[in-house]
């Protein structure tokens, strides 16, 4: 069957995508196979026809979703010239709720699910490490670019700087996504920009609201 493989791939993808959405909405613990089936518009039985177990599907869905985010961000950033603007864009994308068009409160919710699962599931731990190191490498690339162009005056090791900025983003994003009343979306954005400017050595210009 010529369309068979293609359709098989589509289904696979459709189901993973549906799974990611359900996890985002209901959380890993409350995600049922029947929910995923419903979301994908197929019968529960079909899920297990394409995936050997619920667990495998959930793992794949988690890494898939984070992968998507990374790829989208990476593509966007690559189109920007200035390292300072690249960094601003990366921060825009990282602050939960800052960009209305990406407005689901999700990517970060999925990250937390990944973390909790990675605590005990070695495969997930491995995937997480790869994902995270790739993200830090993305930041480091921006930093190196800025150092090379003279936009950033700090001479410190780019990997160390990116670790600091990445960790700050993670820590703040947790508070924001959990609706801490003292850590709003706007405050996180401001703080992250200020720390980045201070850490990397560049001047903050008035930002677009």
């Amino acid at each position: 069957m010529s369309t068979g493989n293609a359709k098989g791939k589509d289904r696979h993808r459709e189901i993973v995508d549906a799974a990611a959405r359900v996890i985002t909405d209901r959380g890993l613990a409350e995600t049922r196979i029947s929910d995923i089936a419903e979301r994908a518009g197929v019968s529960p039985g079909l899920i297990l026809y394409y995936f050997e177990s619920k667990d495998r599907l959930l793992s794949e869905a988690l890494t898939f979703a984070n992968d998507q985010f990374y790829l989208r961000a990476s593509r966007e950033i690559r189109r920007i010239d200035s390292a300072r603007e690249q960094l601003r864009r990366l921060i825009d994308l990282s602050v939960p709720g800052y960009l209305p068009e990406y407005g689901r409160l999700d990517e970060w919710a999925l990250w937390i699910e990944v973390w909790v699962r990675a605590l005990r599931d070695p495969d997930m731990a491995k995937d997480r490490e790869v994902l995270d190191q790739r993200w830090r490498a993305q930041i480091a690339e921006i930093v190196r670019g800025g150092q090379a162009s003279g936009e950033f005056s700090s001479a410190e090791d780019a990997d160390e700087l990116s670790l600091r900025i990445g960790a700050l983003i993670d820590g703040l994003a947790i508070q924001v996504v959990l609706n801490d009343s003292l850590v709003t979306t706007e405050r996180m954005h401001r703080t992250t920009m200020e720390v980045a400017a201070q850490t990397l050595g560049f001047e903050l210009e008035p930002a677009s609201p």
Copy 2:
């Protein structure tokens, strides 16, 4: 019954404590009432005699454990005079695996469980916010002390500074507790101390190993 109330309270406490240990070992998702009963050395039925539901018990266990950590840390820190040393101690306590005597890989694992639950459980979200703000207030108090004594030269708002340091610790601790090969216990400690010194404005002295 005179010993009745006391024994009732002990049981309550014993069970919460057992629950916290089980959650630490097996994770929230894999924690069964029978596990908690076994750990506490009682029958499964008794758990539901003292708690109206498994969910309530788990919530209480999570906040209880984090509470314990805060109180222990707070007590220790209060005994130290120098703000710089208070901060070092706080960082020692915060870096997973840094102090062998507290060596379980746990407090942070429990935090991640709290986060994931707080995403959808409003009561847990409320508790988490209180716990977290109290922790940030603890840092802020140290910062204010250091500013007052002249140990820290930064004049920035103490709440803002403590938010930055707290978030950095959170973000790094995640990597460490999840065994990221590039973010070791030692590296986290070094990075956190360096950033704190830079952020607050003090000189780093050679540390005790």
